[in-house]
Symmetry: C2
Subunit: 521 residues, 2 copies
C-alpha cells in the first residue's frame, strides 16, 4: 500500500505544523497519515478510536506501562476538540473578556484608550485563533510520536469491524481491547429557524464565522459555556441578551459567590433573562438569522440580531459505536461503563465525554489512563472524587466543595472567612487585592473580586472554598487535594503564602486559628 | 488625659479611611489615636512595637488564644510598610508591567492602541496608588479592632522604657512580654551624589515622587525589587539601565528558568549590566540628579538621567531597641532570636524583617504568631521550612525547591517535565497556554511562558517546580505543601486539573507516570 507513513522519520514541530495546515485547508484532506511501526504485525494491546484528551492520554499511559496502543483519529492532529474548537479558544476569548473589561473600566486613563462606542472585531479574534491553533496541534502530534512513542493514524475515520478490529483507510488493525473515545458535540437548537446561517455553537463559531456579528447577540443557555462566550461578546462592546430556561450559573454552589458573579455580569451590561426561552429564529431575508423571538416573563419579545449563540448542552458521539457494537447507553446517549471503564461489550471500553458528565478535561484524561490500566491488567476503580471546578465570566471563578448553604446544613458549627469584609461598605474597600486586580483594588474596589473559605468549626477542617478574581484557578487544583486529605484551618494557617496572593485563605486562616472556638471573619 | 480614644465606638471602614486620609495629609498627624479598653489596668500579655505584618498577626493570634495584646504603631494605620509603600504598590506596578507588555506586543491590533513612542506617566500610576492605598489601610484598622478585637495605639511612636514597659504619647503601658516588630528599611546608596533629589528607593518613590521621570532610568541592584521596578519603568516606555555588582536574579534557582526570564527582560528592552557599579551621581544643576557615572565592563560610562532607583537591600530597624534594651544583633543589624523568637533579653521577642531574611510576608506574619504562642506558654519552634518563592518581571516567576542543577547533584535519577518542549523550535510553539497568556500562545508563542517540574526518578517524588507566566503563583503555596509532604509523580498525575491550567504539572505527570522507569518530557 502506498500510504503516507511517517513511522520511521523524526518529525519536527514545524513540519507537523505545515502538514496540519495543509490538511486543514483541504490540500491533503483526503490523505490519511500513518505512524505505525513497520515490520510488526498490526496487533495492538488497545486501539483508541479518537485521539482527543481521553484517547491520547489513555494511549500514552498504556504505552508508558509497556503496552502497544494505536490511536485512530479523523482530525489531522491529536488533542481532539479542546485545542481546535473548545477549551483553547474559550480561554482566548475569556482572556479577551478580562482584558477588555479592564480597558473599558480605565478607558481614557493611564495608557488605556477611550473605549466609548468602540466595538471590537470578533472575527479578528477568531481569525487570530484559527491561525494560531495549528501550533498547539503540532506540539500534540510531535509529543505523542517522538516523546510518548505512541503509534497513530490521523486524518482518517475508523470503521469498527467488530469488538477487536477496526478498518482505517482500507487497512485493518486489531487489538486485545477497543477504547471508544469519540467525545461529544454541542446540542443543536430544535426550534423553527435553527438551520439559518448565523446560528452558532462553540465549534461552528470557531470554524465557520465568516462575517462580523452585528450589535446585538442572543446567547441561549445559562451554564458555563453560555456565560463564557456571552462575557466575551459583551466585552467586545455588543449588546448581549442571555436567555436561559433555568437559573443562570446554577453550577456555582455558593449563593453569595454566584450573586457577586452575576452582579458583575449585569454591571458589565449583559442582559440576563432567567426562566425564559428562545422560541423561533426568523430569516433576515438572506438566509441568515435576522431576529429572534423570545419568551421573557410571559411576554413575546423580538430581538433584531444576526448572531445567535447556543450553549444548551452536549451530546455524546455514541451513535456509531452503538450501531457497530451494540454498546449500551443511558437516555442521554452516554455510553454506560463499569468502574474499569468497560462497556456492556466485553473488551470494549469507553472514556471521556462519551461516558457523560462531568465533561471536563481531567475526567477525560484520567478515564483514559484508568482504562489503559484496566486493559494492562491492573485492578482499577475509576470513581471521580469531589473535584474542583471553574468557569469564566470576565473573571475566573473557581470553587471546591459545597457552598455555604449546603455546608451549613452539613456542619452546624460552620464558620466562614471572607473578603471583602461582610460590612455595609465592604464591597467598596480595596480588598481582596492581588495579581491582575490591583488597578481595580485601588481605583474600582468593588471589581476586585470575592472569596470565601468554609471551615467546619467542630473538626476544624476546610470544607469549601470559593473565589472570583484572577490567578486562583490553578491553586484550586492543589488546594482540593489538601482539602480532600483533611487539611485543618491550623495547618492551612501554617503554610507559607506568596503575598499578595490571589487566595487570602492562608492568612485569613492564620488570623483565626489561634482560637479554640473558631469564629468567622 | 484628653486623648482620642475610640475603644468604645464601632468604627466603619469609611470612617477609618477618612481619619487615615486626614492623618496622612498632616491634618491630624500629631494626634495619637487610642483603641485601649477603658476600665482595665494598662497591663498586657504582650506589647507589640510595630503593627505591620509581624506585629499585627502576632497580636491577633495572641488575642485569639485568649491573651491581651497591645500594638503601638507610629503610622496612623496597621499593616505596616506592605500596604503603604512595599508589596501592594509593587503588585500594582507589576500588574501595569504585565498589561503594558501585552499592549505593546499587540499595539495597533485588536483593541490595543498604537504604542510606538508612547511613554506612560509614572506619576499618574503612583498618584493612583496614593489615592487608593488608604482603602486597604482602613480595612486593616477595621478588621483589627472590630473583628480581631485587638487593642492598639496609632499615629504615635513607642518609647521603650524597659523590657516590660513602653511609653506612648505620655501614657505608660506594661506587658509580660515585649515584641519588637519594627521591620526594615531600604539600604541607601553610599556614593557621591546619593543625597540628590531624584534618587529613590521603593518607599520614597511611592511617598515622594513629585515629577515625571525622564526618558532614562538607572536601576541599581539585581535582586527581586530591582527587577520588579525596572520592569515597570521599562513597560512605561522608558529606557532602563540596570546596574548590578553580581549576577542578575541569582535568586532564581533554576538556570534555564532564569535564562528565560532574563531573555524576556532583555527582549523588552531592559539594558542589564552585571558585574557593574554605580560610582557617582551628578547634580543636574537644580539639586536633582542629572547624570549617573557607571563602571560597566571596566569602562566608565555616563548616563544622562533624572531618576535613579536603588534596590540594594534592606536594613533591619533595630537601632532603637539595641539602644534601649541592649538586644544582640548580627553584623547585618538583624536582631538575634532563638526558636521561640526570644531575643538575648528575656521576655523581649523580635519578629518579622527585624530578625533578618527571608524578609517575606509569610515569615513576618508567622514569626509574629509563633512569638505569640511562645508568650502564651506554648512550646514552639519557629524553623521556617523550605518555602516557595516568587518575583515579578513583566511576568510572575514562581518556584519551589532546588533548580535542576542542584537537584541533579542531589538526585542522580532526576527527570524533568517541561514546557515548551526542549526542541530547537520549542520556544516558538504555542505551549504553555493558559489564563492570561492566550494571545501570546496563539500569536507570539515564545512569550507564553516557561515551566519545569523536577522529579526524583528513584523515589518518584516531586522535588522542585519552576514557572514563568501568570496565575501560578498562588498555586505554589499549596503545591509546596504537597511537595513537602512527599507527593509523588503518580499522586500528582491523579489530581484533577482545571484545564487550561497555568501549571501543566498535573497532566505532564500523568503522561509519564505509567512508566516504572521514569523518563522526562
Amino acid at each position: 500500500m502506498k500510504l503516507n507513513d511517517v513511522s520511521v522519520q523524526g518529525l519536527t514541530i514545524r513540519t507537523w505544523r505545515a502538514w496540519i495546515d495543509a490538511a486543514l485547508t483541504g490540500a491533503m484532506s483526503s490523505r490519511p497519515l500513518f505512524n505505525v511501526r513497520p515490520g510488526r504485525d498490526d496487533r495492538f494491546d488497545a486501539i483508541f478510536i479518537g485521539g482527543g484528551a481521553a484517547g491520547r492520554f489513555g494511549a500514552a499511559y498504556l504505552r508508558a506501562m509497556g503496552g502497544r496502543p494505536l490511536i485512530v483519529e479523523s482530525f489531522p492532529f491529536l488533542g481532539g476538540s479542546c485545542p481546535h474548537v473548545a477549551c483553547v479558544p474559550h480561554h482566548l476569548f475569556s482572556d479577551c473578556a478580562a482584558e477588555l473589561m479592564l480597558a473599558r473600566t480605565f478607558a481614557g486613563r493611564l495608557w488605556f484608550p477611550p473605549m466609548d462606542g468602540v466595538v471590537v472585531s470578533i472575527r479578528e479574534v477568531v481569525e487570530l485563533f484559527r491561525r494560531g491553533r495549528t501550533g498547539p496541534h503540532a506540539v500534540m502530534n510531535y509529543q505523542t510520536k517522538e516523546q510518548l512513542d505512541v503509534e497513530f493514524v490521523l486524518n482518517a475515520p475508523a470503521h469498527i469491524v467488530n469488538a477487536r478490529t477496526v478498518e482505517v483507510a482500507g487497512r485493518r488493525f486489531s487489538g486485545r481491547a477497543l477504547v471508544l473515545a469519540t467525545g461529544a458535540r454541542a446540542r443543536k437548537l430544535d426550534i423553527p429557524g435553527a438551520g439559518l446561517r448565523g446560528v452558532f455553537d462553540y465549534a461552528s463559531f470557531v470554524n465557520d464565522l465568516d462575517y462580523e456579528p452585528g450589535n446585538t447577540i442572543v446567547v441561549v443557555g445559562g451554564g458555563k459555556t453560555a456565560v463564557e462566550y456571552a462575557s466575551f461578546f459583551n466585552a467586545t462592546g455588543r449588546r448581549v441578551v442571555m436567555v436561559t430556561r433555568g437559573r443562570l450559573l446554577a453550577a456555582i454552589p455558593d449563593a453569595e459567590t454566584r450573586a457577586y458573579v452575576i452582579d458583575r455580569l449585569v454591571e458589565q451590561g449583559v442582559e440576563v433573562h432567567e426562566g425564559a426561552e428562545l422560541l423561533e429564529l426568523r430569516d433576515g431575508g438572506d438566509g441568515r438569522v435576522g431576529s429572534a423571538v423570545l419568551r421573557v416573563g410571559g411576554e413575546r419579545v423580538v430581538e433584531a440580531t444576526d448572531f445567535v449563540f447556543a450553549a444548551i448542552g452536549e451530546i455524546p458521539n455514541s451513535e456509531t459505536a452503538v450501531r457497530a457494537l451494540g454498546v449500551e447507553t443511558n437516555a442521554a446517549g452516554a455510553i454506560l461503563v463499569d468502574e474499569c471503564l468497560q462497556t456492556s461489550v466485553p473488551g470494549v471500553y469507553a472514556v471521556g465525554d462519551l461516558i457523560g458528565p462531568p465533561m471536563e478535561m481531567f475526567k477525560a484524561r484520567k478515564s483514559g489512563t484508568y482504562a489503559a490500566r484496566a486493559i494492562m491488567g491492573e485492578a482499577v476503580s475509576f470513581r471521580p472524587a469531589s473535584h474542583p471546578d471553574f468557569l469564566h465570566t470576565h473573571y475566573e471563578v473557581s470553587w471546591l466543595g459545597p457552598g455555604e448553604e449546603e455546608a451549613r446544613a452539613r456542619y452546624p458549627r460552620l464558620v466562614t472567612l471572607r473578603l471583602p469584609p461582610d460590612t455595609p461598605d465592604g464591597l467598596h474597600v480595596g480588598l481582596p487585592a492581588g495579581d491582575r486586580v490591583m488597578l481595580y483594588a485601588l481605583a474600582k474596589p468593588h471589581l476586585s473580586g470575592f472569596q470565601k473559605l468554609l471551615v467546619d468549626g467542630a473538626s476544624r477542617r476546610i470544607v469549601g472554598a470559593h473565589h472570583v478574581g484572577y490567578g486562583a484557578k490553578d491553586a484550586f487544583q492543589y488546594l482540593n487535594k489538601l482539602v480532600r486529605d483533611g487539611i485543618t484551618i491550623d495547618e492551612l494557617g501554617d503554610l507559607d503564602e506568596l503575598f499578595l496572593n490571589p487566595t487570602y485563605f492562608i492568612q485569613l486562616a492564620r488570623l483565626r486559628s489561634g482560637a479554640k472556638e473558631l469564629i468567622g471573619i
